[in-house]
Amino acid sequence: MKYCSNCKVNIVGNRKNCPLCQEILLGDKCSDEIFPKISFVYKEHGLFFKIVLLASIVIASVSVAMNILLPQRGAWSLFILGGLGSVWASMINVINKRNNIPKNIVYQVMIISVIVILWDIITGRKGWSINYVVPLTCFFAMITMAIISKVRKLFIEDYILYIIIDGLFGIVPIIFIMTGILNVLFPSLLCIVTSIISLSTILIFEEHSLWAEAKRRLHL
């Protein structure tokens, strides 16, 4: 063992300096270190990510500047900012939740729905969001989840909650149909029917898991 004459302590390991006072150690008998050496990783984001981030900032700032110079056509740069914001909101979710695909899908459905409804309202309430986009996203989400859960052999408790949330969300278009604000019925009907089938499947075949999951997630 080495010795630090300054701190008056023995030092275990193979180092040259005292870990307490940095003084040079006396003695030459080395012993094993008790911890492995683990280098710093200096975690960095990928180059692609950096390029996309910089590109977004360039596009956003240049378009706002151009818009201020050429104000005749209205505030068009806001659409560009909104578009970039939407893409980033969705991307960040995809990256953060990449380890839990069913959860990722449900979050994606919510984010996309909110974004398209906002866009629809801002661009003149033509109704394309609730006519097509929202029900179809929800429909495809349900199909994807069903396929992924089978292909990746997920365990029921890992995806049941997300199937239920998406199923319940998929029934919401009934309200739109009842209030008569839809011009096109086909996508919404497709979505509602799939939701009913999907929820019933869970209710009939996974009744136990369903109640157990409800009990866990909702316990007070």
Binding site: P36, F155, R216, L220
Partner: protein, 423 residues
């Protein structure tokens, strides 16, 4: 119809609830037990030992999930795998976007390391798991040696006793009295290590040597070490901050005061303070003051009050129906306030015992914990007392002064540490 097995789940105990919202890279709320053997560790034997041990501790198979109102443990199908140590001490175990088991077992040369996420258990609970693991490892690895011997570990708790939530059991439902004003604590400052690394500096001391000195000062080991640590911190306080008190937070194992064999959390915390601007910085004066503080804080009434204060919040109907997302924010704020109320932590896990026949294979035990400031953990095995400092700071001044004080008293100190600098 086939009977489908519904996966088991359980609530987080009262003390555990604070951990999930407050775990971050800078403070992962992970602690580590390590056991140093005389031989190099055999990976296969360790894996076998782990497979047996985990069956006796069902909660360790859990992951944490979030419900609408609370977090909960859900039994998972992940298999615990032994790995060679390749992570910095106390690396993240709970990440809400990447679910894993809440503990890991690693080995490096002669050491077995066991890291646990604090929501799962406290030190006194996790040591049961670790002792069982080491016990099985040694009986498997040195099978021929133990052939005709029947060994028992001093751990007779049943699976249900280990799963017990003792906070629930000892909550009397009394509304807590208003609490006393908190003291302004000195906050350690300084440059921190990159990548949220922590520096581990451990001092190994012969138990008989230090107990003789402790006796000279007519006190207990915990109080003695707390006093030495307070004096070491005092030397570091800049003049303009001298009016602030040094406050040590000391976790108390409630199993010593209430009957419980739980392997989950069952601890309370007491804060002891000393103001060096108004009092003498003589070690014996500090010890005298701490003796009184300990006596005041460790009465049954005082401890019961603590259990009730924490459990009261959990049992309040109004608070229970607040969604988890809001609770998270509140618990983060609460944690920040609590964090500001103390300077450092000293945790004495106490004596670790193993069956006599095994002692020839085991050199020592140690424990330390993740921190965003400076923490000391103490445990002893046979004649080796280990005082482990973990610190997020680059500076090692407090640790140096602490061990220098002990060395100056004539106590032989062996220092072990991890290499954080690129030396």
């Amino acid at each position: 119809m086939k009977n489908k097995k519904v996966s088991e789940w359980s609530k987080l105990d009262n003390a555990a609830k604070i951990f999930p919202p407050n775990s971050k890279n800078s403070d992962t709320k992970v602690f580590r037990f390590a056991c140093e053997l005389y031989d190099n560790v055999d990976k296969q034997a360790l894996q076998q030992a782990l497979d047996i041990t985990i069956e006796a501790f069902p909660l360790y198979k859990s992951i944490i999930k979030s419900g609408l109102f609370w977090y909960y443990f859900e039994k998972s199908r992940f298999k615990a795998v032994v790995t060679e140590e390749n992570l910095p001490p106390c690396s993240t175990l709970y990440d809400k976007n990447n679910k894993t088991l809440l503990f890991r077992v690693m080995f490096y040369k002669k050491r077995i390391s066991f890291e646990v996420y604090h929501a799962l258990s406290d030190g006194a609970g996790a040591i049961q798991f670790f002792k069982t693991l080491v016990f099985h490892y040694i009986t498997i690895k040195y099978e021929s040696f133990f052939k005709d011997k029947v060994l028992v570990l001093d751990n007779d708790a049943s699976r249900t006793q280990k799963m017990d939530d003792s906070f629930q059991k000892y909550y009397s439902g009394n509304r807590p009295a208003s609490k006393k004003k908190t003291i302004k604590a000195y906050k350690l400052r300084g440059l921190k290590l990159p990548e949220y690394r922590i520096r581990v500096i451990e001092g190994v001391i012969p138990v008989d040597c230090i107990l003789a000195i402790v006796k000279e000062h007519k006190t207990s080991l915990t109080i003695f070490l707390a006093a030495v640590l307070m004096c070491a911190i005092n030397e570091e306080i800049p003049a303009r901050m001298k009016n602030r008190s040094v406050v040590l937070s000391i976790p108390v194992n409630l199993r010593n005061y209430y009957y419980s064999q739980t392997a989950r959390n069952f601890f309370g915390v007491i804060n002891v303070d000393y103001n060096f601007s108004t009092r003498s910085n003589d070690l014996d004066e500090v010890i005298e003051h701490l003796k009184n503080s300990f006596k005041e804080n460790l009465t049954p009434e005082h401890l019961e009050k603590r259990i009730n204060t924490l459990s009261y919040l959990e049992h309040n109907y109004f608070l229970r129906i607040i969604p988890l997302a809001i609770k998270d924010v509140v618990l983060k704020i609460a944690n920040n306030i609590v964090d500001k109320s103390y300077t450092s932590t000293l945790s004495n896990v106490g004596k670790i015992n193993m069956p006599d026949e095994m002692k020839q294979f085991i050199s020592s035990f140690d424990i330390f914990v993740s921190t965003s400031k400076l923490q000391a953990c103490v445990c002893s095995y046979e004649n080796k007392l280990r005082i482990s400092f973990t610190s997020a700071f680059i500076s090692t001044e407090i640790q140096r002064r602490f061990f220098k004080t002990l060395a100056d008293m004539g106590i032989p100190v062996n220092i072990e540490s991890n290499k954080v600098d690129e030396e």
